[in-house]
């Protein structure tokens, strides 16, 4: 069924009887050309682009629970391509371009909303660093603007400009950045992939790999063995656990990142704002909730929940930046498991094990990467070579020293 005003109208008139499942409840077949482990946004996007771009349609996405129940459904929905380093920026810009056409491509409204992201700076050194970044973005053909204090004030007059401990000096704006409805991205890719013949198999946990000699030729699952020419793993948060089944140790630690939403409010914050003197960023969803977050808790965790010190730290940042929010209320908070890589940047690469491909290490930035991650992982799986925008995301870069360390904090994942 194609979604349109007409399908809504037809169903309004027939008592909503005409809707059909957005995707089939597939059972695993014995074998596929490609298996994608992980039914999050990245895995589903990979399957979609394999089918759409590369014509590889004999594909299964194996998901241990229901699709989108990991980080795809637990993030703060920001999309942006305001990166500094040449290893990152073309990739995230490619992602942004895919976001910009995504809804028509998928026939699904993911509420991609380009209301801008403003990174505030509070010192000359921060300004210099943002100028460096903004210029790097321009070199990559990406929009960026360096705003002074007056321009920031004109955009967001309610920020604390008069009594701040760390006065706002300006900000780096990427106007094309914004947010998207995270669940809809998952459903949109799932529905579109399904329509191209991809099997989306839920409640199917991978418990091991099937080997022939060195090579991996399939997976063992809770729903039986499934063989495949290639196995792609896109399970950020659990990458180390899945890789361990193949005997690999990864340059990744799992950490908890908390996210927060307030009660619903009339429009207050138009775009995305990040505070430069503390750990706080915020946007407002179309439903009216303020969606905000801060730093990771800092310790290894698979618990999908965090602790009060970070919650307090985030709210202190929020109050310092926007003192009018004191009487607004935190409605829910939760945690996601982040694949924190050792240089803060992702991995899309083959592994030393033949037949096994890895998409991992997204830190807390995986959501915005969803379309390009799928595109580039599909490219790697189909062509056997990295896509041009993801050529730096190699697994051996830690060995060669070609690191992509945006923050410059080195091999300490909890600082990225």
């Amino acid at each position: 069924m194609r979604y349109s005003v007409f399908s809504l109208l037809a169903n309004a008139l027939n008592g909503q009887k005409g809707w059909v499942p957005a995707w089939r409840e597939a059972a695993p077949k014995p074998a596929y050309d490609v298996i994608i482990v992980g039914g999050g946004g990245h895995g589903l996007a990979t399957a979609y682009y394999l089918a759409k771009v590369h014509g590889i349609r004999n594909v299964a996405v194996l998901e241990k629970g229901v699709i989108g129940s990991g980080n795809a459904g637990r993030n703060t929905t920001i999309i942006r391509s305001n990166y500094l380093l040449p290893g990152n920026e073309p990739f995230y810009e490619w992602s942004m371009k895919l976001w910009e056409g995504l809804e028509q491509e998928l026939n699904y409204n993911a509420m991609v909303s380009q209301r801008g992201i403003l990174n505030l700076f509070h010192s000359d050194a921060q300004r210099d660093a943002y100028a460096r970044r903004g210029n790097a973005m321009r070199l990559a053909g990406v929009d960026s603007a360096l705003l002074d204090k007056a321009q920031v004030r004109a955009m967001y007059p309610f920020l604390d400009f008069d009594n701040a401990r760390f006065p706002i000096q300006g900000g780096l704006l990427q106007a094309r950045a914004g947010t998207a409805r995270h669940d809809a991205v998952v459903w949109g890719y799932a529905r579109a992939a399904d329509r191209l013949g991809v099997d989306i198999v839920q409640n199917c946990e991978v418990t091991g790999f099937i080997r022939e000699g060195d090579a991996i030729v399939g997976v063992e699952t809770t729903r039986g063995p499934v063989r495949a020419g290639k196995v792609g793993v896109a399970v950020a948060g659990s990458s180390s656990r899945v890789a361990a089944m193949a005997g690999l140790r990864l340059p990744i630690e799992s950490h908890v990142l908390q996210a927060f939403v307030s009660e619903g409010l009339k429009p207050l914050v138009d775009g995305v704002i990040t505070f430069g003197a503390g750990h706080f960023y915020i946007s407002q969803s179309d439903k009216g909730g303020l969606v905000f977050g801060g730093d990771i808790d800092g310790y290894n965790s698979y618990a999908q929940r965090g602790n009060l010190p970070v919650i307090e730290d985030v709210c202190e940042g929020g109050m310092a930046l926007m003192p009018r929010i004191g009487r607004l209320r935190l409605l829910r908070h939760w945690g996601g498991i982040m694949d924190m890589s050792m240089d803060g940047s992702p991995i899309i690469d083959r592994t030393p094990v033949p037949g096994l491909y890895l998409n991992a290490g997204w830190c807390y930035g995986g959501f915005k990467a969803t379309p390009a991650s799928g595109w580039c992982f599909a490219h790697l799986l189909a062509k056997g070579a990295p896509h041009e925008t993801a050529g730096a995301f190699r697994l051996d870069r830690f060995r060669t020293g070609h690191l992509i360390d945006e923050k410059g904090v080195g091999a300490q994942p909890n600082l990225h």
Partner: protein
């Protein structure tokens, strides 16, 4: 989360800085394959879901580096000993 510091007693984790996996040993820099060993030491992690030994530095306390045994699924902490415990007169086992 509260860390049972052997010197200070139980303290909230926000008093500490953490550095992750405490089972790694700095390789011999003179080894023939020192570069490979250092790569593994600096970058690779078991990252287990379950029992984990990790370094916590009591920055806002006694300034000890502690080896903390914690479960990464539940955050339950089963113990903490000072890195230097064996060096101390009290002779606590490491």
């Amino acid at each position: 989360m509260r860390i049972p510091c052997p010197y200070c007693g139980e303290r909230d984790a926000h008093e500490f800085a953490t550095l992750g996996d405490a089972t790694l040993t700095r390789p011999d820099p003179a080894a023939a394959d020192a570069d490979a060993q250092f790569h593994d030491y600096v970058y690779l992690r078991d990252n287990p879901a379950g029992a984990h030994e990790e370094w916590w530095y009591h920055a806002n306390g006694c300034r000890q580096w502690l080896r903390v045994a914690r479960d990464t699924r539940t955050h339950a902490i089963s113990g903490a000993v000072a890195a230097r415990a064996t060096e101390q007169a009290s002779g606590e086992p490491a």
